[in-house]
């Protein structure tokens, strides 16, 4: 091998590599903006995400699908011994193909709702162990699931389903109404959010005793609802507005006029 020639080749490629940056740079920036899996915030992400994206290319989808089937096979054993393996598989699947929201949502549900139950069962089951222990298992699993979903938000910043899932976990598993209300509100304000997110936000505010806030929120919401769309439940919203007016003793003259 001619080493001098090799050095010349490297030097030429280095110079060309720098010279083509004005052509490549804007295209690469745009491509990365469009493709979430190419947006790598730090080195840790880069080593996992980047290598799989780089190597698997178009086969990411099928590899992730097959690994998802494997994840479900492990998950079906429903015992604490498979928690680390199931969590690892969920991380692997979402690393290989972070594009489908399906993997993130269902992975988070497995972690938050199923694994917490497995842990409680192994410790002696509901009713047999102290509430504090149950609370701890629920909280730990919920936090892991929320971490997964927060990571999902990096890839899907415009998908309200992820925020609704976080809100659901705060509400159902951690019984943290304040956080749940906050996430339902953020989700409800996003484009394409299901109408129920806004209604649940108001309902949680009402349960927390924040009647004024719930009342104002529902009045604003009502104006945006389509009477022809059954999912918008316009009459239900009006009914709740009336209930809150009763609770708040709003004088008849000041009541909301649809």
């Amino acid at each position: 091998m001619n080493w001098k020639a090799l050095v010349v080749i490297f030097v030429v490629l280095f110079v060309v590599g720098l010279a083509v940056r004005p052509v490549e740079g804007p295209a690469w920036d745009e491509l990365r903006e469009r493709e979430p899996s190419l947006r790598l915030a730090d080195l840790e992400d880069a080593l996992g995400q980047g290598v799989t994206v780089g190597l698997l290319g178009g086969f990411r989808a099928i590899v992730a699908d097959l690994l998802w089937i494997r994840t479900n096979v492990i998950w079906e054993q429903q015992e604490t011994a498979v928690i680390p393996a199931t969590e690892t598989m969920i991380r692997l699947v979402t690393t290989i193909d972070p594009r489908p929201v399906y993997f993130w949502l269902n992975g988070a549900r497995m972690i938050a709702y199923d694994m917490s139950v497995w842990r409680v069962r192994e410790a002696g089951d509901y009713g047999n162990i102290p509430d504090a222990a149950v609370r701890r298992y629920h909280d730990e699993q919920a936090e892991t699931a929320i971490r997964l979903l927060e990571r999902a938000r990096e890839f899907h910043p415009d998908r309200p389903e992820i925020l609704i899932e976080i809100a659901n976990i705060y509400l159902r598993r951690m019984e943290n109404e304040e956080k749940a209300a906050e996430y339902y509100r953020i989700a409800a304000e996003m484009e394409g959010a299901p109408p129920y997110a806004a209604r649940i936000h108001a309902e949680i505010l009402r349960r927390m005793g924040e009647y004024e806030q719930a009342y104002e929120w529902l009045k604003e919401l009502y104006a945006t609802l389509d009477p022809g769309n059954p999912a918008h439940q316009k009459q239900v919203v009006l009914g709740r507005i009336r209930e809150l007016e009763d609770t708040l003793d709003v004088p008849l003259i000041q009541r909301f006029q649809p």
């Binding site: 190597l55 178009g58 998802w68």
Partner: protein, 279 residues
């Protein structure tokens, strides 16, 4: 005695012979059958699909097959066709005639590039036909409401994807040509080219990460790495197309321009290296 001048006609003859020799190889036929099988089997694998709509899954799968088998073909065919001339001593016969080494390299490159165009073109057409057939079936039967605005698949962009991949394979052919020009065996060329392909696919990590390095020598090494190798992720526009987004003209033009620059550079480097080689 008249002076021999650089001749596109001689390049054309070498390119034609290279192409015909490549097409006759069993390896090409084998790869075509495997790639076609993979693309068509996406209909079977879609039953295992959880995360994506059917058309996106088929497109994704087809793009994967084109990239994988196209890359294998670009490296193996280039190395084989280059070394067959040297091992059979036909290179000596050819180069003893008034043929420049640059003409030999350019001819070989064009022959393999034409082969890659045929391969990519065939696969793109098959994938488009498959997508059209499934899309028509879905439009008419399963979910007509989803197609109120017309067809979802942008077939023009699928062909743009085919062109972009062909250009990437041509760069890979140029890289293999450079490697083959200084290496002694076919196997060494193939292995080293695959390693370079891997580096080019992961180059973007170095490109983004070098600034985060704290240790200066490592930072410089990673920066060098990011500058020396072309960024093959730039050609990865399949995700956007599979997701139903169209590729803006400027983005497509920049990618094509980037590819053409590297094709020229690698061909010139192969000529430079091959000139110094003893046959």
């Amino acid at each position: 005695m008249s002076k021999v001048v650089f001749s596109p006609a001689r390049i054309n003859i070498i390119a034609k012979n290279t192409f015909l020799e490549a097409v006759r190889q069993k390896f090409f036929g084998f790869l075509v059958i495997i790639a076609l099988g993979i693309i068509l089997s996406s209909q079977v694998f879609r039953d295992f699909n959880f995360g994506a709509p059917e058309l996106k899954f088929i497109a994704d799968f087809g793009f994967g097959a084109i990239v994988l088998f196209g890359s294998v073909l670009a490296i193996v065919a280039t190395a084989q066709l280059f070394f067959s001339e040297i091992e059979n001593k036909t290179a000596i016969t050819i180069l003893a005639k008034p043929i420049f080494r640059s003409e030999f390299i350019f001819g070989k490159f064009l022959g393999v590039s034409l082969l890659l165009l045929v391969f990519t073109g065939m696969m793109t057409v098959i994938l488009s036909v498959l997508l059209f057939w499934r899309e028509t079936a879905i439009m008419e039967g399963v979910d007509p409401e989803a197609f109120e605005a017309g067809r979802m698949v942008a077939y023009g962009d699928i062909f743009l994807y085919g062109i972009v991949q062909w250009l990437k394979f041509s760069i890979l052919c140029g890289i293999t040509m450079v490697v083959a020009s200084f290496s002694n065996t076919n196997l060494y060329s193939v292995i080293l080219s695959f390693v370079i392909l891997l580096i080019c696919h992961l180059q973007y990590l170095a490109r983004d990460a070098w600034a985060q390095m704290e240790f200066l020598p490592v930072q410089l090494a990673v920066f060098m790495l990011s500058a020396v190798f072309p960024n093959f992720q730039l050609f990865n526009i399949g995700d956007q197309i599979a997701l139903g987004e169209s590729i803006p003209f400027e983005l497509g033009a920049r990618i094509i321009g980037y590819a053409l620059i590297y094709i020229i550079v690698f061909n010139l480097l192969a000529v430079f290296s091959f000139r110094k080689r003893e046959i």
